[in-house]
């Protein structure tokens, strides 16, 4: 067996119960190999170095959306981000243990309220998701009807919304979004993508209701189209595309409303 390689990582620590006013960095030396993820690093620290480190995780396979953190300032899923990609940047073969400059800095997701260490408050994010009525709205649907048939939906119809249905609610796009950073009321990329997912679903009839949320100042129009949300999305959802298409839809529905002479969704305008 070869000696395991090691590197240094800085981990943001914060526990208000212990009187911490602000986060501080804890530097730890950790072993790694080609398959070591950022989440593995945190597990190592918790189990071998300091069991009081708090962070969220479960699936360790990039599907549950629990483990979002900032790594060197960029929002990442801890379980799908690998140490190999950071140490490589610093030049292959150099022994990082020799100088203790950290290869990685791990911090809680930006723009969310920190609770403790790497755990952030997710409630505000979930409230935004709920606000867009993310479910099939179909006045004709009858619940629990065993004889009911499935709707027809062709692969092409499915393909229209499928990408937007792949969101794992990890929140990375909110940590990337400068507008959400300035205005936490902004419903944000994932919620808009989710609204779009249902709006594009051939089984749904709820677009009008959802557009009332998206039309507002805190809806699609808050976005200044930076596009960083799509860059950081670990699931290829492309929320920026959803926001953009949402703006087109929103403009359309505003025009229609204008012709009809009724007020649009934003009560403040």
């Amino acid at each position: 067996m070869t000696q395991p390689r090691t590197c240094y990582v800085d981990i943001s620590r914060y526990d208000p119960e212990r009187g911490d006013q602000y986060p501080t960095m804890q530097r730890v030396q950790v072993p790694y190999d080609d398959s070591t993820s950022v989440l593995d690093v945190l597990q190592y620290v918790k189990e071998q170095v300091d069991s009081s480190l708090s962070y969220r995780w479960s699936c360790r396979m990039a599907i549950c959306g629990s483990c979002g953190v900032m790594v060197n300032g960029i929002p990442k899923l801890g379980c799908k981000d690998f140490v190999r990609d950071y140490v490589a940047h610093k030049g292959v073969g150099r022994d990082h243990a020799a100088n203790d400059a950290p290869a990685l800095t791990i911090e809680p997701l930006a723009h969310f309220t920190g609770e403790r260490d790497l755990v952030v408050n997710m409630d505000e994010f979930l409230t935004h998701l709920e606000a867009v009525k993310p479910y099939i709205i179909d006045p004709a649907s009858r619940p629990n009807n065993p004889s009911a048939a499935t709707h027809s939906q062709t692969p092409a119809q499915l393909a229209r919304y499928q990408q937007f249905a792949n969101c794992i609610n990890c929140g990375l796009c909110y940590a990337a979004c400068p507008q959400f950073g300035l205005n936490p009321e902004f419903v944000g990329p994932a919620a808009i993508a989710l609204a779009h997912r249902y709006n594009l679903d051939s089984r749904d009839h709820g677009k009008h209701e959802r557009m009332q949320v998206l039309n507002t100042h805190d809806g699609v129009w808050s976005c200044t189209f930076v596009g960083f949300c799509s860059d950081v999305c670990p699931k290829g959802v492309d929320p920026a595309a959803a926001v953009n298409q949402g703006k087109v839809e929103s403009a359309k529905s505003m025009l229609i409303q204008l012709f009809k002479g009724s007020s649009i969704g934003d009560s403040r305008s």
């Binding site: 119960e17 212990r18 009081s52 479960s58 549950c64 609770e115 065993p146 062709t154 499915l158």
Partner: protein, 610 residues
């Protein structure tokens, strides 16, 4: 301490818990108060990781009888046949209901739902949403549940115990005791009915496909309160986990035509009564790669003994070859598998075979319930992987459990609402909630105050010992000596656990404490698993004994469920329970050509009806 009153408490926000909560809300027409507790946000529950699909008879050339037979034979005749019968009849309508709620099922060109092959299933009947079926089901259920005002969510609440009222021989559930993870405060949530939907216990083993939260909590809570755990010896190894992490590569990869080869590129399954070899690109139901999971995992073990496995890092592996399926097809049908293989073993399945090995995947056994999902404690229900309603017997067929979450989640929700409604106006009985609260308060502070010196262990250390001994003694093949050793190890670990030290003394987000408590639950579940495995001196389904005299199925002595009972500070005890085989008498369980020969003989006993 905060007190709350609800009609129904659902513990668990996975597929089973969410389906149950929706059903209870619907059954009460919205006139109920339902609390949904989960130690993680519901969409983080491990249902999210299910890839392959959910089974229900769908095609014209399929029949309920065939699904029934596949499930009963797949479970090596240890399934409750009345329960299987109910299941196959209600499976399809539940998947249709999911379609109405927006689940993005994969489709045929004509717009109908597409079905795929799955191991041990005679006909294509597995509905799927690409290779993220569980993810899409869970998000669909979560989002659908948002519409029901009757449901109040308690996200990140960790349930420690249930309250029980005793009245002579009658025992009734009265609610749950939970820790709010954010604040560390204890909450007492009373209810007329409680549904356990806490998922499996795969994390009791070292190498597994399960998420970190799958630690058997609900099983242990019911068990400590006197409900037996049934059929715990049956632990499913999935034949295709990634080496190192254990991350699952779905069976659908084989359903779609992937093949398994050993280090010589030989399709070894033909040597284990699963042949003859099927042509590349022409998978055939119940042959070769589409045999059931237990047989495939056992074949790996034999290949390993024969030195025909390869190496990936320190792991012995065989290979899943998907290359002949081509890039376009893989991207359409198995996109997640491609993503996982690239990220976690640095292999692109379009160009290279994926190294794989068996990993613990599914807990067939669980909390004993009757066919209506109720446990021997009145008002306490269980559904999903934590329950043993009797569907899977000695081995679960892939894609039956996602459907199980829906069929029995719904049933549990409806039944629980009925129980709660009947109890609504009855006076509250005196229960043990206060005593339980005191117990847990003391337990927690004891863990934090236990002296921290070298002789006193910490949970990471005990956990490592537990998962290692389970892997050693309670693996794919088992024998008396190994099982006895593991059982002894667990008894020692339980003693050490009492003296364990938890360093973190903060209240909020104290994951140090939570993992310590989870380990306590896991130790109890592990004990039940080992004891039942030790006492079952035969080989059946996923439980295989190495001793010559125990290598066969022995219906005379062991056509029975095991029931393990917990005893405080003493070793657990075991008894046996009759199995319902009224619809289909036990036969030899065979696959490949032998299975085909057998299928031509009538399969049902007289009078059996599906």
């Amino acid at each position: 301490m905060q007190q709350h009153e609800y009609d129904v408490v659902v513990v668990g926000g996975g597929g089973a818990g969410l389906r149950a909560a929706i059903a209870a809300a619907q059954a009460s027409d919205g006139n109920s108060r339902i609390a949904l507790l989960s130690k993680v946000y519901p969409m983080r529950s491990h249902t999210v990781a299910a890839e392959g699909g959910a089974a229900a008879v769908t095609r014209d050339d399929d029949s309920l009888q065939a699904h029934f037979e596949d499930t009963v034979a797949g479970g090596d005749w240890l399934a409750e046949q009345g329960v299987v019968d109910y299941f196959v009849k209600h499976a399809h309508r539940e998947l249709v209901q999911m379609e109405h709620w927006g689940c993005p099922w994969s489709r045929q060109p004509n717009g109908n739902v597409q079905v795929r092959r799955f191991g041990g299933m005679k006909t294509e009947r597995t509905w799927f949403a690409a290779d993220k079926t569980g993810f899409h089901m869970l998000h669909t259920l979560y989002q659908t549940a948002l519409q029901f005002d009757a449901i109040t969510r308690f996200d990140e609440y960790f349930v420690l115990d249930i309250g029980v009222a005793e009245d002579g021989d009658e025992r009734e559930v009265t609610g749950v005791l939970a820790l709010d993870i954010k604040t560390g405060a204890l909450h007492c949530i009373r209810a007329g009915a409680v549904i356990m939907a806490t998922g499996g216990a795969g994390r009791v083993f070292k190498f597994n496909t399960n998420g970190g939260i799958v630690t058997g909590d609900g099983m242990a809570i019911a068990y400590r309160n006197g409900v037996p755990l049934r059929d715990m010896e049956f632990v499913q190894y999935h034949p295709t986990g990634l080496p190192g992490s254990g991350i699952l590569i779905t069976e659908a990869s084989r359903g779609e035509g992937g093949v398994l080869v050993n280090k010589d590129g030989y399709r070894y399954l033909q040597d284990y009564e699963l042949g003859p070899e099927t042509p590349l690109g022409k998978p055939q139901n119940k042959y070769m790669e589409l045999g059931p999971r237990d047989k495939l995992s056992q074949a790996f073990w034999h290949e390993q003994q024969r030195g025909r496995t390869g190496k990936h890092g320190t792991s012995d592996v065989v290979y899943l070859d998907l290359r002949h399926l081509g890039k376009a097809f893989l991207e359409e049908r198995l996109p997640f598998i491609c993503e996982l293989a690239k990220a976690y073993v640095n292999v692109d399945p379009v160009h290279e075979p994926i190294p794989i090995r068996p990993a613990v995947h599914y807990t067939m056994g669980g909390i004993l319930t009757d066919a209506q999902c109720e446990t021997p404690i009145q008002g306490l229900f269980a559904a999903g992987e934590c329950a043993s309603v009797g569907l899977h017997g000695a081995n679960r067929l892939g894609s039956n459990s996602l459907t199980e979450l829906l069929v029995f989640g719904r049933l549990a929700g409806e039944q629980a609402w009925q129980r709660a409604n009947a109890r609504r106006n009855t006076p509250a009985k005196s229960d043990d909630m206060t005593a339980k609260t005191q117990y847990w308060q003391q337990r927690i502070s004891a863990m934090q105050q236990n002296p921290k010196h070298a002789a006193v262990s910490s949970w990471p250390q005990l956990k490592q010992d537990l998962v290692a001994t389970m892997e050693r003694g309670c693996g794919i093949y088992r024998d008396e000596a190994g099982l006895q050793q593991s059982l002894n190890d667990i008894h020692e670990l339980k003693v050490a656990y009492q003296r364990m030290h938890v360093a973190d003394s903060s209240r909020g987000y104290n994951t140090d404490l939570l993992q310590a408590i989870e380990l306590g639950f896991s130790l109890d579940v592990a004990e039940a698993t080992c004891l039942a495995a030790l006492e079952r001196r035969e080989s059946r389904g996923a439980h295989q004994r190495l001793e010559t005299e125990y290598q066969q199925r022995n219906d005379e002595q062991f056509l029975k469920h095991s029931l393990v009972r917990w005893r405080d500070e003493q070793p657990a005890t075991l008894e046996w329970q009759r199995v319902d085989t009224t619809l289909s008498a036990p036969k030899v369980r065979a696959y490949g050509e032998q299975g085909n020969a057998q299928a031509s003989t009538p399969n049902r006993t007289q009078g059996g009806k599906v």
